[in-house]
Symmetry: C2
Subunit: 380 residues, 2 copies
């Protein structure tokens, strides 16, 4: 059949073609044990940016639980009890993973579950879902947060989007982030500050170097100061943190026969949560005050979070889950809760040393252990 001529407004209208069937939402059976549920979560790929199928599955499964109110914002899902308890606890986890490296689907072998996201952090997400499904009357009101884009640039982070646009959904007295911590409570997190220290000089031909000023040589006192630096180990809320001030980059040079007029040392200060971001920057400036730095340029800054273990809910949590709380050296999203005034800790079954690795895996015993400890705390 020949097409009718295309005359705007007069062309014959066709009936709208129905969309092909959308992909069915994957089904999550929350009655599975934690290890099996983790395997199921791993087998629904959710690399950062492609979390929709998993977010759909989580939302659908939670909506089947009558004791929870479920909200969604983008691919972030938040489910809450509303029992009028004296305290509210937030259990949070990201649902995205780093890119798959030939390690999906998951594989269970001798009590170890292998696969992308097992440790970081679908085992933790499985624990959240198991608590959501099996503790309908907790002793504290509960908020479950499942968010996207944690493994990529900070401005994409779903928890950050919720904090900016739906902060009331995150309200609570205490938060547990189920990031991998080998079943140990890790309190707070250190801040991280990256600053470029720019050294100045003057170009000249290297055959007549006395006519120039070498910016790389000018960096000598900066490197000497770094090499001699004694990092602090302050105790904050009962936990000993461990700082570090390190060069993470250096660059200088114009050409093989030119005295360079620029050299930049990039330093990374990892600092304990007794300092603010401003105090951390002031410290870096002070350390290098007499080193001839031409300019300090802040490249990146993420504030720390205090452990908050003195809060009654946190103290009860540590007592319930057992073990000795330890400090978290790396920066994590607990800092976002801290910025909202919610003390937070990391506590999850994964192993942080296996995160992002091709041979990522999780000890399934720890999944059950974390789930039991949380249930004990929330039903005591």
């Amino acid at each position: 059949m020949e097409s009718a001529p295309e005359i705007p407004g007069t062309a014959p209208r066709e009936d709208p073609v129905p969309d092909p069937d959308p992909d069915p939402v994957p089904v999550l059976d929350l009655s599975l044990d934690g290890a099996s549920l983790t395997a199921r979560l791993v087998d629904i790929p959710s690399v950062s940016g492609d979390e929709k199928p998993l977010a759909d599955a989580i939302e659908t499964a939670l909506r089947a639980l009558p004791h929870l109110r479920v909200d969604r914002y983008g691919n972030n899902v938040v489910a809450r009890t509303a029992l009028g308890r004296a305290e509210r606890v937030v259990l949070a986890g990201h649902i995205d993973t780093v890119p798959i490296a030939d390690n999906v689907p998951s594989r269970l072998e001798d009590g170890v579950l292998w696969g992308c996201g097992t440790s970081d952090m679908k085992a933790g997400v499985a624990v959240q879902l198991r608590i959501a499904a099996t503790v309908p009357e907790p002793n504290r009101d509960l908020t479950f947060v499942f968010y996207d884009n944690e493994e990529v640039a900070a401005h994409l982070n779903g928890l950050g989007h919720l904090a900016d646009d739906r902060p009331d959904w995150l309200a609570g007295d205490f938060a547990v982030l189920l990031e991998p911590s080998e079943g140990q409570v890790e309190g707070g997190c250190q801040g991280t500050l990256r600053v470029g220290l720019r050294m100045a000089g003057q170009r000249a031909h290297s055959a007549r170097s006395w006519k120039g000023a070498n910016a790389i040589h000018a960096a000598a006192p900066v490197l000497a100061r770094l090499a001699a630096y004694e990092p602090r180990r302050p105790v904050v809320d009962g936990l000993e943190f461990r700082e570090g001030l390190n060069a993470v980059g250096i660059t200088g040079g114009v050409a093989g026969n030119v005295i360079p007029d620029e050299c930049t040392v990039t330093v990374n200060y990892r600092y304990a949560p007794d300092l603010t971001e401003q105090e951390a920057l002031a410290h870096v400036r002070e350390v290098f005050a007499d080193c001839g730095v031409a300019r300090f340029e802040v490249e990146d800054s993420s504030g720390p979070a205090r452990p908050g273990l003195t809060h009654p809910a946190a103290a009860a949590f540590v007592e319930a889950v057992g073990g000795e709380a330890r400090p978290k050296y790396g920066w994590t999203d607990v800092s976002r809760f801290s910025a909202l005034g919610v003390p937070a800790v990391n506590y999850g079954p994964g192993d942080p040393n296996l995160a992002h690795k091709r041979d990522e895996r999780v000890d399934t015993d720890l999944i059950g252990h974390c789930e039991e400890r949380l249930r004990a705390w929330l039903t005591a």
Copy 2:
């Protein structure tokens, strides 16, 4: 007319079509004064790689001189007298220039000739050609060398190709390279050695820096040593040289949150001609012997040349041209003559500070001055 079918061996042969007229060889009138001849040379562009028209012109002009034997190798032209004199002197110059920067054709104004290659070094080439044309019976046998590709990578250098493949054409007791030296004798040249000093370390997350070893911090003693280094000013064959040991590059760093396991400081040692290349390298190793360098990697090495001013021909030359000889700090092709056992100096009318510049120019008085001084020396 239709083509005949193409049957090999039986197709009708056509008469060979004559090539279109090749570009005519530009004419050089060697009876022009040095300044006018320089202008003519500048107006025949000869950017490195495109020297053929100028090489053709030089070859043709020299072949018209019955007292010279002319040879050609690529775009390198060598012309020699064979008078059986006790000594042979080589006058050498490169005919290429850096890329033209809107500064061709040349322009004469108030005794100053402007244009690409005026100083570096067509004024010198003009002096060579004037001596070739006007001194048919010199007191020393003469060899004139015109070579290509001096302004580009060393392996393309025409003088290097002659040294490798036609070393007998370069034989002599003394050589004058007519590189720009403002009409002053510059003796020898310093050597240049570039070495990468590789520092080692061990990667770790920067939040747990104590688990790694920072290779950038490890470079602190290297930079301190460089900053404190006192360069030598040795006197060689009566000329005071001036060394330099400088970082010309530094690079290190893996990511903004990683303790780096590698850092490389690239140092450039410019050294006086009382050291060999081997001694220069030994010196660099010694300077940094106790600085924890994991590996020394030689990136580039070009040997120095002694001034050779004690040679009778050279002494007579300095006396004849007048002024006080001074050392050459930068590396030049005199080193290639030195490697062939021919002492060599730089002596030319150009100004090295104007080389490679958009406003390159030459004082025409100096062109005539250099020509006269050379003629006086060769006809005394």
